[in-house]
């Protein structure tokens, strides 16, 4: 089954994207669904307009080496789906001990999976791990094919009061507007720094009232994805664009 309304709503997102700064992920869909570690059958997706950012592996840098937990759950997608491999980094606050090259190598391996067009790193680096994370991204960038975009997820605070991500060798930093704990997002308000101004990460169960226009949208679903869930998000996304 193909989700027809999806295609109808995408042009709105495309239109607003054109009037903003150059897309840091040119040619990639304006909407990505996050497919986390659960069986996901996304064969109903309209692959022309929606990409899939799937958890490919979890990398755990430790003082005695780097452990990797591969994806264990199937991901079914329609042909020609644009795939972004997401690598979650779990450091337990001890990331720096493992060494940058080995960690970067474990992450970079995910970029060679079939059909992967971009790589995203999901690492809630503690303050003490920021130097490690910066060096890790620099090393990782060198290991990736030059044309492969490198994206990172970002705590909202990194994109607001905290400018530490400025200058990171990444195409975008995706501010995560859900499960924010004590922080909160004022609907429609924008973030500091160019890296944070091209995309947002949201969740189907915590859709913000508004987001700044022209953003690539990454959507998390706490349950298995269904066409209804995605369509509800796309309807909302179309509203956000027309609000501005």
């Amino acid at each position: 089954m193909r989700l027809q309304p999806t295609a109808a709503l995408i042009p709105l997102l495309l239109h607003t994207a054109c009037v903003r700064r150059a897309d840091p992920l040119p040619g990639l869909p304006r909407v990505f669904v996050w497919a986390w570690e659960r069986p996901e059958d996304l064969r109903w997706l309209d692959a022309r307009s929606v990409g899939v950012a799937f958890l490919a592996r979890t990398v755990c840098p430790r003082e005695d080496g780097v452990a990797v937990r591969p994806r264990m759950q199937p991901l079914r997608i329609p042909p020609n789906t644009v795939l972004m491999a997401v690598v979650r980094v779990e450091s337990g606050g001890r990331g720096a001990g493992a060494g940058v090259p080995r960690t970067a190598c474990a992450i970079a391996d995910a970029a060679s999976l079939p059909g992967v067009r971009a790589l995203q790193v999901d690492f809630d680096a503690a303050g003490s791990e920021r130097a490690f994370y910066r060096a890790l991204l620099q090393d990782l960038r060198r290991r990736l094919p030059p044309g492969m975009p490198l994206s990172i997820t970002a705590l909202a605070s990194w994109c607001e009061s905290d400018g530490w991500i400025s200058g990171l060798p990444v195409a975008e930093a995706v501010p995560m507007l859900f499960r924010m704990g004590p922080d909160h997002y004022s609907p429609g308000s924008d973030f500091r720094g160019d890296l944070c101004r091209s995309s947002v990460g949201i969740s189907t169960d915590e859709l913000p009232a508004r987001i700044p226009s022209g953003r690539r949208v990454y959507v998390f679903d706490p349950r298995a994805w269904s066409p209804d869930h995605l369509h509800a998000v796309l309807r909302k996304a179309a509203q956000w664009q027309s609000d501005f």
Partner: protein, 723 residues
Amino acid sequence: MAKRFLILFSIFITVGALIGPDDLSSCGPFLPETVFTPKSAPLDEPRFFRGQLDILQPQYRRIYLIAAYRYLAGVGLSLTDQRALLAKPSGPDFWMGRDSLAVHGWLQVRVQVGAPPLDQINTFKFLPDYANILNCGDDAFSNAAATLIERSRAGASHDDLRVWVAAQDQVFANCSPPEPPQPKQAEPSIPVPLPATAARWMQVDRDYQIAAAKFYAGQFDAAFTDFQRIAGDRSSPWHVIAPYLAARALIRKATIVDAAAAPAAQEQLRKVLADPAAAEWHASARGLSRFLRARTEPARALGEVARIVESQKSGAAAAMQDYRIMLDWYGNRSQDAPRDDDITDWIEAMQYTGDEHALAKWRATRSLPWLVAALTYADQPDPELMAAAAQVAENSPGFRTVAFHRLRLMPPDEARPLLDAMLLRKMPAPARNLFLAERMRVARDWDEFLRYAPRAAAATAYTGFESSMDPISTRERDFDNDAAAILGRQAPLATLRLAARDSSLPPNLQLQVARAVWVRSVLLNDTATASGIAPVLASLAPYLKPYLDGYLAAPDEKERAFAAAWLMLNNPGMRPSIDAGAGRLTPIPKLDYLRDNWWCRADAPERSINAPLDLLYRGNSPEAGFLSAAQRGDAVEEQKRLAAAPAAATWLARLAVEWVADHPDDPRAAEALHLAVRAGHYGCGGDGETDRWVKRAFRLLHSRYAKSEAARRTPYWYEVKRR
């Protein structure tokens, strides 16, 4: 040599066990929350698995609901099953690059015969659907190591053992072929058959290695054929296990290549189960049969295992875990499990859709599980249901759950004496807390309310991680959401101040209330109330006394206002709210570095009710029905005025700046300005005026007291995030 192998192997196993990985986690900060009654798991698991269900929570994880059903249905759990459930068998370790004990043991043993050392063996295989499977399990490596040791003990030559290991290395080379798209697809690594001149033991082992290599390489049909051939060779030590491995080859084919192989796999498993000589593999074969059906015929498999879980008195723990996994399979896909079996229907009803269905089922069955489900979801006291509830005996595993809901549904006048009697009984804190909440809900006056408001903190859990609760052994009592909501929003100052002196409340709660009364009355310019509560507050928190004395001695409004601000600037834990749980973790005089200082908003926000309490409140807010209309009106008016109060940082900075401007020689002046700037930085956000006042405080400090210690400690001021 064999002895040396055994010793070495033992050492490696022991050392490996000692250096196992510890827990891994990230994210944060995760703040501890007080748990009064856990919603997703019983606090005392052994007690629960013994059948002491207390007040059953519909949000309990499925394994607990499964156990609860068995007790409610009269099946119970054998001691063996209780132990098995408590042991929480862990699955395989799905981390690559962190060799399991078995892999580690094999890598160490093989070098003893001169094989070149290997760093690690990757045991995962990438599949076309982006999933990875654990292709080579621990058993394979343990078996290889044990066989090598055994062959050595039997007197095999060093050269033969090296040849044996080389072939085994070829077997394990198939565990994790390079992931596509690699420039060159790896060829399967299959050892060659040995010539007839080789020793017999080497020939039969080689046949087995060839079959295993084909299995790991994904040549399942060929592996099946080879294992069948080995099964027919009575001279092979592998002939007993071979039929079982033939079945596993077909199962692997059915689950990752072609589901049409499932019937053949089941047929092969039936042959294994029918063979008394293969008794060692029967338990595993039964489990595999269930696993295969769960993959290929999930509804049928669920029904089969549900019937075991419903009725098998002992030895049911493994089936219970399988059943839970099968239910999770549906849950992970957002699908409803087929509800053909009573237990599945009951669990689904408890978790999702209790209401009318549960009542209808109870009417049809008159069973205790359905009585519990019907009562859990009842919003009206159905007479027949209430009568049945009254008949449940005190020694029934459902007694407390049934009593809790029956009393919830009763008219308050009838429920009160029964609740009082219930509270005289001995019971664990999580259950007692809910009966206390139930009694507080029908309180007739303020005294009764205060008597039942404090609850024993049962455990601490980190936000979002109730699965790892730390039980609290101290007798600390706090407010839960319901009491905090009423004290926070519905009680006016005139009523609250009585609570601060009420001996029903432990000192920590008296302090919370006195603190809120004082801060609120200061913000509301109610000097009489603030002055009246000040001695109470000072007696509960002696470190505040010097500041409160200054407040009471102030000759006029201006000085009084600054004295209040001076107290709060020095005590960041001062706030107008009443917290649920342990509240602010940092002592009142200390600054909290996660910005839990002063207040985010001065009025009390609507508070969501936690799940166990929502069993009582059913989506509604707690209401103190005994408060008069006038008292409620006063509370509403106070809340309105508090809502209009400035942000804490604005209020504090403004009072500091205005006071210092008029009293530049006050010895507290420089410090007050420093603390005002600090309040901007570490307070809970600001409003449209905050930056202006904080900046003024900063400038005044550096212009008038440039050489002061306070100025030196204040090199910057910070823009404040608006709330």
